[in-house]
Symmetry: C2
Subunit: 354 residues, 2 copies
Amino acid sequence: MIRDQTRKVNLGPLTIGGGAPVLVQTMTNTDTRDVSATLGQINRVAERGAEAVRLAVLDEKAARLLAEIVPHSPVPLIADIHFDWRLAVLALKAQVAGLRLNPGNIKDPQKIRKVAEAAGEANAAIRVGVNAGSLEAEIFSQYGRTPEALVRSAVKELQLIESTGFKNLVVSLKASEVGLTVEAARLMARETDYPQHLGITEAGDQESGVVKSSVGLGLLLYEGIGDTVRVSLTGPPEAEVDCAWEILRSLGLRARGPEFISCPTCGRCQIDLPQLLKEVKDRLRSLKTPLKIAVMGCVVNGPGEASQADLGVAGGSGDGAVFVKGQPVGRYKFGELAGVLEEKARLMAGEPRA
Amino acid sequence: MIRDQTRKVNLGPLTIGGGAPVLVQTMTNTDTRDVSATLGQINRVAERGAEAVRLAVLDEKAARLLAEIVPHSPVPLIADIHFDWRLAVLALKAQVAGLRLNPGNIKDPQKIRKVAEAAGEANAAIRVGVNAGSLEAEIFSQYGRTPEALVRSAVKELQLIESTGFKNLVVSLKASEVGLTVEAARLMARETDYPQHLGITEAGDQESGVVKSSVGLGLLLYEGIGDTVRVSLTGPPEAEVDCAWEILRSLGLRARGPEFISCPTCGRCQIDLPQLLKEVKDRLRSLKTPLKIAVMGCVVNGPGEASQADLGVAGGSGDGAVFVKGQPVGRYKFGELAGVLEEKARLMAGEPRA
């Protein structure tokens, strides 16, 4: 996979773009003014693999309280600003690593320039985040709800910010439609070198949101577009982080923890495979080392898949054959299999049970 | 989206390929010899939107009992055959609409020709279904686990079957890796006109399997490749059908029932949006008419998204503004919103409550 060439942008200690690993982001859904709830959620999503976290900054109180959140966060924080440019300046004073501005709702060029200057002094990043649901009226009336509209809206704001000398810019062009999001990102990648933050916005609950985000982000990432991602789900941000990692892993871009290959089970399967898979996953949830583990129901594809994995099991009649790096290492009764797989996985990962 | 040009294949009363709508398939995970359990599952997945269902045929008893299943199935059935060609002939006698043969495990050309002749007489379809986990040894040793290996294995078998005059052929090239599956399908689409059945095999449980299938199938379908799909999940086949429909819908290829656009909720949201979304979904689960329904938490993107949808709500402070075809039609208290949305959706769909 050839990654699109983008400029390097700093987000606190992290790099976005220029070939850096695709960054996993999420956003809190707590009230940012509730410092303890917000920090709790930041810590949980960071533990789950979120590498940067965005927070809604709705009012001055929220902006000021960022100063009590930022020093305790294990990951860089990004203030999500709408309508009021002064909240951006307050957030920068609280040392956020980045701002997200929506060109649809801070319109005065003077105010945007002031924000850019403050961000430059604070060495923060700015993401210009266009959303098809909140396009500026004049862009919407000229281009409609099209890829061009999203790109024009973003480029206008990006150029305005760059005119102040500020270059630490990321862009995102989100829509709730996969096709519109994909075509906008492709157009932006052809025309500019800004790193892109990818997301399908208003993607829906976990049932449909995971699918939409996987289709949209997956297809852009597979063609090399995208430097940072956020999966948007109506649900806990932890699920967003899990889904983002699954997308990156499915394309071989990044991996975290064990990957499970398992068959859908059919009439050929003679062991309780979903139960075995669940038990092995639960036992290994804390593992950080990427390992490929095949949990297969039968001998048709079982040994083949198991031999491609670091560790595998192919179910038989009430038992299973275990493979390590493609070599059979023994048959075990069903009740023993989860324990055997955990033990072997922890040994390979060098991560003994806590 | 320009669909890849493929030949038309008949599967019972259905058409696969040649521009026909992408067909949604799944596979039972019951013991096929348990006629009543199998028919029960076939009926449930058909009600959920499965348009063809595959069954594992492990032994002669299963093959013969197909004769008691086929006449009662609301959708065409496909017999999944491995190792023993005689089971294919028995399944055809039982009037299945199609066979799936795995070139990795029926090797004698004479036997394959006999199956093709029987399928021709029965006017059935044959899918040559290659699986990276069960490649023939000689292909594997020559090409390794590569797109070429999958294509060569399939083409060899397809040509052998075509040499008998049988043309009603579908092909699938499945692997547990997204990249391998995608590149194999692309290569096959460039080289041949067989309709392709898409799937990521051994995709994993719902957590990772939905993501892998969405990424892989989504990106192929977006470039016009794929005439029928099966999402493989370690879990209930109903979930496979739901996921397949979500993928097709996300790309605007096909739709069934309401589509929900909803925001991830953030600090701006002042109503219990996940609860509202869940209640509206539950109330409208039986709806078959495609409708776009936006359930949004706040005024930033809410009215914009709601105005693009057939029906929408943008949350306020303990209440919500409801939109019909972009026009505001009133504000309602939180507790009334789900009922109001159901009523308006059923009216638009012309599907009153049963």
